[in-house]
């Protein structure tokens, strides 16, 4: 495979995407909401919940579900500190696995289905760029922007939370910690790659962008189950679990890429022109 050809496809697509507000807006707004609005909202709500007492008692079962070693970490914290700490460090973490999936799904759905809709696909397929180079190029254009957005969102989230929490925790910085670093720089990319690969396969098989995006939403379900698992205390993302998941997803990434190449048929793409 000639990497420079895949990069060529990446730059061509990126130039197009950055001039398309229909794609740019959704991939920027959702991460912005999660990284800026969520921490501010949580701080305000936690303050209100603690003063109202009843609201905080509704939150207690969630804390009690957490393993003992985690509960030990906030021994001696005030109710508001506990609420912010648990939310910031544990409950919101899986949302950052959703960011790369959501952003990449918009771009990956557009990869081949969008080219079919805009009738640009035939000239692209007629070039001497191999199936692997095309597929990998399309993966890059979904992966790089979505990971950039995820890392930037994580940085913004960390800064906002630390700024908001610094006075509440007497100068203690809540983030980043090892779990978050592993999750953002290890788990998020590997999950994103598997999801992007699957979405591109779908995009090559269906007629249009909307169809591809609707089907690719199904891929969010396993990740949402991780979110609920963490909130209910069923799964707690510690370094070992995260590293295990990274290993599993690395294998899955290779499998998806191989399957993607096997299923990539120029002929089928052309016969499914919208």
């Amino acid at each position: 495979m000639r990497i420079e050809k895949a990069i060529l496809v990446f730059w061509k697509d990126w130039r197009e995407i950055r001039r398309n507000w229909q794609i740019i807006l959704p991939i920027v707004i959702v991460p912005l909401m999660i990284s800026v609005v969520l921490p501010i909202l949580l701080t305000v709500i936690s303050g209100l919940a603690v003063t109202e007492g009843d609201s905080f008692s509704e939150f207690l079962p969630l804390i009690e579900n957490l393993p003992n070693n985690i509960q030990m970490q906030f021994a001696g914290f005030t109710d508001q500190q506990v609420m912010i700490y648990v939310m910031a460090v544990y409950f919101f973490a899986p949302f950052f696995l959703i960011i790369p999936l959501m952003t990449s799904s918009v771009i990956a759905s557009d990869s081949f289905a969008g080219e079919k809709e805009r009738r640009t696909i035939e000239a692209l397929l007629a070039t001497p760029i191999s199936d692997g180079e095309l597929f990998f190029g399309k993966m890059l254009v979904s992966f790089i922007p979505s990971m950039l957005i995820t890392v930037v969102s994580f940085m913004v989230y960390t800064i906002v939370f630390d700024v908001v929490a610094i006075s509440l925790f007497n100068g203690m910085l809540l983030l980043p910690n090892l779990d978050w670093i592993l999750m953002i720089f290890g788990l998020a990319p590997t999950i994103a790659l598997a999801s992007i690969g699957l979405t591109i396969i779908i995009s090559a098989k269906v007629k249009g962008f909307r169809e591809a995006q609707q089907i690719s939403v199904i891929l969010l379900i396993p990740i949402l189950s991780l979110v609920f698992g963490q909130v209910t205390g069923a799964i707690i993302f510690g370094p070992i679990i995260i590293l295990t998941l990274i290993g599993l997803f690395v294998v899955l990434d290779f499998v998806v890429f191989r399957i993607g190449l096997m299923l990539f048929k120029r002929e089928e793409i052309l016969t499914k022109l919208a």
């Binding site: 050809k5 060529l8 730059w11 061509k12 130039r15 197009e16 001039r19 398309n20 805009r118 009738r119 640009t120 696909i121 035939e122 000239a123 692209l124 397929l125 007629a126 070039t127 001497p128 760029i129 191999s130 120029r266 002929e267 052309l270 016969t271």
Partner: protein, 315 residues
Amino acid sequence: MTPIIKANELTKTFGSYIAVNHLTFEVREGEVLGLLGPNGAGKTTTIRMLACLISPSEGSAIVAGNKIGENPLVVRQTVGILTETPSLYERLTALENMDFFAKAYNLLDDHKRSERIKELLIFFSLWERRNDKVVTFSKGMKQKLAIARALVHKPPILLLDEPTAGLDPESSKEVRDLMKTLSQQEKYTILLCTHHLKDAEKLCNRVMIINKGKSVITGTLDELRNKINGQIIIQVALKKINSKMVEAAKKVDGVKRVDVDKPASMLKILVNDAELTTPLIVKNIVDSKGLVLSVNVLRPSLEEVYLKLIKEDSK
């Protein structure tokens, strides 16, 4: 001339539908072969097979010495293709489109690539609009840019699918003239897919008419006219007509019928071969003291040939 494209029993089926049915033909180096046929005749499918976009169900083809399917990347490098739609990235500028495709077709030297793109954009009168997004272009400009893109890597073969489809008469003529320049001055080998008979008549050295995926006939325009027993009529305008002149015309071998149009003072002579018979007819008439004012050869148009052959084939 050696064939640069050689298709042998090329066949493509989609399920039970036969899109191309055992098509055998050659395109010689430097010639323009027109692939004519109604919608759904299999023209686009044939071009897609030759460009290695789809694989044949049966048969094979050799394109610039490479068997299709064996090394698709090499075959794609040797052809420039104009697809049914311009297939341009509308959010990119003309220059960005050309640059992407030039790199995709392995024009990796920055200086050579820029020079080639400039040369083409100037040739197609698009240089002034090079930094404008393609979305702002007219249909004719998009079509010209798409042809420029097909030429960017200097391929020996051009596969053009309906190059004047959907264009206004002015743009059609402009595109047609450019294609004529490409074939006559630049010596490109062109396989031109069209149902615009005017394009074929003006540009093609030979044409192949296909219907329902099958070849109906292949040949030069004259060969096609002859094969359908086309009505070639030689009109001889005379100062005065008499029976001696009519008899003199009838004596020439190859004359099938002579009609006299007295009010117009004209003989209408039905022949098989205009080139062979016209000089003899004129000589005989002059020998019989006829004063010839003008001679006009009326051949069947490509449209007549095409419609007749397609009608016969459909029966």
